[in-house]
């Protein structure tokens, strides 16, 4: 049991070892997210200004999937990471379906989104 706890702790340390880079996150956003999203405007996906700390499914005037509109979660770093890794696993029935498999890419994107207040 103790060894499992140590392993879990080490895994947690590994997951947070990457120093998030908001500038790199901005560059990733410009190539990976810009097809559907903008910071200031709802497009195919909702506007991202203020997404960090916002309740899911609450961007003004954006028509969400029922799944996300009723998810009742607040976007923090952990939930954004899980969402970007596998949106369908976090919120079954969502419509995004785009995933970001690399941990470092997700961390940088989240760091950038965090700056978009």
């Amino acid at each position: 049991m103790r060894s499992i706890a140590i392993l879990l702790f080490c895994a947690g340390v590994g997951a947070t070892a990457h120093a998030a880079d908001a500038e790199r996150g901005k560059a990733l956003y410009e190539t990976r997210c810009i097809g559907c999203h903008s910071i200031d405007a709802n497009r195919i996906g909702p506007a991202h200004k203020g997404v960090f700390g916002r309740e899911a499914g609450r961007a003004k005037d954006y028509e969400y999937s029922p799944a996300l509109a009723n998810a009742h979660i607040v976007w923090d770093a952990n939930l954004l990471d899980r969402w970007l890794a596998d949106p369908e696993q976090l919120v079954p029935g969502q419509r995004m379906n785009y995933s970001v498999p690399e941990v470092a890419d997700r961390a940088d994107l989240i760091a950038y989104l965090r700056t978009q207040r």
Binding site: E30, G35, C36, S38, A41, R43, I44, R95, N97
Partner: protein
Amino acid sequence: MDCSDLIAPARRTFLGRAGKATLSLAAFSLIAGNEAFAQGAASTMQDVNILNVALGLEHEAINAYQLGALSGLLQKPVLDVAVQFQGHHKGHRDALAATIRKLGGTPVAEKSLDEYARALRADTLKSQGDVLDLAARLELGATNAYLGVIPAFKDSALAKVAARLAADETMHWSILASALGRPMPMAALSFGA
């Protein structure tokens, strides 16, 4: 073009039965104890959702090129290419909408040109370079969006359709980047990552 022709025959048979697939169908199947059928219907709905996001991208691309064409900023040879690219996107739109209908879904509606103009900040376009830059950003974004959803498709034939759409968008981006005088990517595997 009708990309639903690429769907495997066994899948089409299932989809024919599930042609009116809805959330209630999945729920009914679960209640009736037919878990496999319910999972199939749920998978179909997820694929329809992805295709509808793709259709939304194509609506926006068509309107972005329309805004560019109406701006008066594009010189004649560039305008011709923009109209040709818009035609490709109309082909994508028609194929996606037909496939969504065949899968029992409802294609997402196009918004008004004014709505696209506001969302894409068309009022900030002041030169031909601005229009091409916007088009290049959208085409690169679409390329990466299509590549990024490929793993999420339950039907591998639809994943192939997404790859073919990504190839068209990459072709558009390459020509636009060249017109803007931008260098080709230095590294291999630069798309989708």
